[in-house]
Symmetry: D2
Subunit: 311 residues, 4 copies
Amino acid sequence: MAEKINRHSRGVFIISVTPFSKNGALDLESADRLIEFYIECGVTGMTILGIMGEAQKLSAQDAIQFSKHVLDRVAGRIPVVVGVSGAGLGNLSDLTKSVMDDGAAGVMVAPMPGLVHEVKLKNYFGEVCKALGDDVPICLQDYPQTTGVNFSVETILDLTRTYAQIVMLKHEDWPGLTKLSQVRAQSGTDDTPRLSILTGNAALFLPQELQRGADGAMTGFAYPEMLVNVVNRYQEGDLNAAENLFDAYLPLVRYEHQLGIGLAIRKEILFRRGVIESPTVRAPGPALSGVDHAELTRLIERLNVRLSELQ
Amino acid sequence: MAEKINRHSRGVFIISVTPFSKNGALDLESADRLIEFYIECGVTGMTILGIMGEAQKLSAQDAIQFSKHVLDRVAGRIPVVVGVSGAGLGNLSDLTKSVMDDGAAGVMVAPMPGLVHEVKLKNYFGEVCKALGDDVPICLQDYPQTTGVNFSVETILDLTRTYAQIVMLKHEDWPGLTKLSQVRAQSGTDDTPRLSILTGNAALFLPQELQRGADGAMTGFAYPEMLVNVVNRYQEGDLNAAENLFDAYLPLVRYEHQLGIGLAIRKEILFRRGVIESPTVRAPGPALSGVDHAELTRLIERLNVRLSELQ
Amino acid sequence: MAEKINRHSRGVFIISVTPFSKNGALDLESADRLIEFYIECGVTGMTILGIMGEAQKLSAQDAIQFSKHVLDRVAGRIPVVVGVSGAGLGNLSDLTKSVMDDGAAGVMVAPMPGLVHEVKLKNYFGEVCKALGDDVPICLQDYPQTTGVNFSVETILDLTRTYAQIVMLKHEDWPGLTKLSQVRAQSGTDDTPRLSILTGNAALFLPQELQRGADGAMTGFAYPEMLVNVVNRYQEGDLNAAENLFDAYLPLVRYEHQLGIGLAIRKEILFRRGVIESPTVRAPGPALSGVDHAELTRLIERLNVRLSELQ
Amino acid sequence: MAEKINRHSRGVFIISVTPFSKNGALDLESADRLIEFYIECGVTGMTILGIMGEAQKLSAQDAIQFSKHVLDRVAGRIPVVVGVSGAGLGNLSDLTKSVMDDGAAGVMVAPMPGLVHEVKLKNYFGEVCKALGDDVPICLQDYPQTTGVNFSVETILDLTRTYAQIVMLKHEDWPGLTKLSQVRAQSGTDDTPRLSILTGNAALFLPQELQRGADGAMTGFAYPEMLVNVVNRYQEGDLNAAENLFDAYLPLVRYEHQLGIGLAIRKEILFRRGVIESPTVRAPGPALSGVDHAELTRLIERLNVRLSELQ
């Protein structure tokens, strides 16, 4: 079994898509191929059942089946984090228990809507920690663009100090560079434990975030090898190489970052790369037009030209 | 089996709470008592698995179990509508199939978030109608305060014309009196079929809405007998009696209408009235303080005084 | 000159409408009548240039002219608070300087949008206090339904402790009864100075809020005498009389509380009462339909019946 | 006097910053330098008093003074569009009259908040058109991320057909590529007049938008020469050159695109380039930290390296 996530986790935890066949059913064969693809790309870990994994469109049974399948297939080669966010604490703890029993390395929790005061937000995570049990490590998802809930630096640090099991921050507030610098500077100190910080938000600022102290990325991208290589080169000390590589992909990073249709783009590229059998997004979901397809093709061709220049 | 909902449905469809025992488990004994209570109050129908039924905190299994239990117990005495809103069409149609097989009279659907253009909203309901099948009557829930999605009068009328199965509007936009008047005036015409309009939003404007053409109410309140009597007296032509009765309850209607804590208040009253075993709201949820309890007691005492004056 | 607002201010500060003639121009004759009407109703103070005073639709020149006119006419008989909220600190301080020079008793400030973390909100009020100067007493407007900014109890108390000039809270968060109880209990203590708390939000919960420690109301209503009498009877210790009176008006309180159209209703009643020359709301603004007019007439007639019963 | 904007306007209308001296006062000397800088960069037009021109923090007097100064200095060399959005129609038409008299080429109008139904949105623009007078050409600003108001393709086309004076769309919905394609395809047809479409949103998708039929850009960027050259090369038919140039700047485009702090970055670069005397943003506003400064320096150095490679 892979190590659980902890305060020193680093590298790239890829946010996995959930592959479906044309009719929308779970496609577990593609899931197997996808897992091997991610591992070959060199990812450090995987995160499943996130928003970009269409978790909210999975039935409860789908969610259990998919996570069990992934955990079995990965078989401890890399840690797998599972998104368990939801409205009721009961549902959260049931799903958590199930996936931890199946070998998950931890869970990712975004706050439910409506937690508009910091004390409410802290209390919520207190309830979550208690419901999950203190042996379950938690990755806090800070993604106000979707949740409508805002974490201040103070709240993040307070949660870090109070709950030993809150070990990781999926940082995707935007704009969030200053926040990342502040959390990094004020944790790992005498009074506040270190926190693993992985950046999300489609990695749009990955090089800047690494320089500001991120430990890597927890995000999705149809070219996971870019994320891995940027993080590796940065961690090896070759910042220019890291940044040159990132910038080559930036037109596509920006393109995949489009809310909604971005997921259809990501699945289309994974499909073109032969990783998944169908680019299907579950209904109701976005679909690419002919213009979109042509535009994507052009962006990929330009990427290949740029990558060949960089070699 | 009760009649399915249709374009002429009228009266009070009570939005049912979901009773839980102190530990948060489904309390089916209380559910039985609650059903009999609602029927004795004279409601025309029931709606379960709504937002105020804590649907979003039920597990998939809870939802199926509770709806089956209610449908069995009601046994066709009154029509039961089931809320099936959710993110994925697959989940919507699976739950719908299950409850319609168990004897539901129709389903209630609120739009998923993000449908910011009218054409998107219409397309969404097109997809929903197709996924559910055209023998399932639909109650459209128009509740922008919670969904963030806005129906214009034009969109409602267009959906009414286009989809024979969209037969009912749960009207709870706010302020929404003008919208109600317009939908009533512009449906049941040569080109647009009649629509059953039941008002929600805690019935805060029930007498005004009846006078503007509502067919009744689909909402929750801990005194369902008020809703029933107001609608009945109005439909019998005694508007003053209807309005006097409503106004007597208005301080409590307003009190229960408080977002979030309103549900705790409603369950507390049902508990005090001996209908449900415990006022428990599933975690994370609101709880009443000592001050709240005393305030509620005072409001109930004042209600009783006022009711005795009215006799 | 009237006393400035302070930590012990109480009673009813009526949120004044801004009267316009039919063509939308400032109607200063009606303003004079309105001022006398408010004073005859027994209000303790007035608040001008609030949201319900259509401040955002006044030109800068209108705002200065109207506030100067009101301050001159009131001539120190009652304190007048002026709403000065806006995007730039420069504009805030310029308007504040002007109205304080003209004799205002203090200013009302709502936070600008986007202050999503408590530390940002505190810093903002720090900047505001500095820009206005410490001799200007401030009424904090807590109205998240419109501003999108949320004050926690902790933030309110912190601001109270830190800035001597923040002396009053216009409480209109919703649901907000618990918050009011908490602010009242935790201020006026050894470490936190007392805060005058006046309730807003159309006074929808006025009796409950008085019982929870509010010092009165700062809100608008077309029957200011109700607000005054409810507060007076409560402060004299006759809670039942206060609440009976309030409940008689509650159908209209609720009716005027409708966002947007509520202002047209308020101005229409003031027009029918002969206070203002025209019910005009500045464009683009809501207008009442024939149905609305008839509905309002009926509600007013019912009010008069109920009031005669109470005598 | 420059030509008014029209249905065939094209090129780059730069969204101008408003320069302030260190103490926050209007800096008209810097404004002169800025105007010459923009014109030397080859922009086709300018847009002042936009959101990124801090219009909401200018006093009414500042706004009049600044726009008059700019119009005098530009002296008809290029068309100048003025942002006039605001809450009251009276304010809109007063400011419009003033700037059109001073020689503006048209005005930019974003919808006021709360226009949640398409018919309301259309009615609003009907009122605006009438208030401004039909000789004032209007650029419609479609920026839901800030206004909260959503234009559908149908609404844009309808407005185009109905109001001869609505001649230009500032397209900055996001994701908005499909919308742009649709508006382009469905205007300039037998029944719908052509619309000039200029893209905003910090130009994040400029090459894609040009290929989808945009006539250019109306946005801000501290390197206006990039916008100009990308549009020119595209219009000359050299798409690869356009896209190579754009991609070189993309790391900085993305960096300046950060909401809030992006304006501080833009002003800092203009300051470093010697265009404006001070990078001051009016209070309350964002400020750059030491880390931000170093990060920006690095991004600029990398840009210069990349530009030299491209030559």
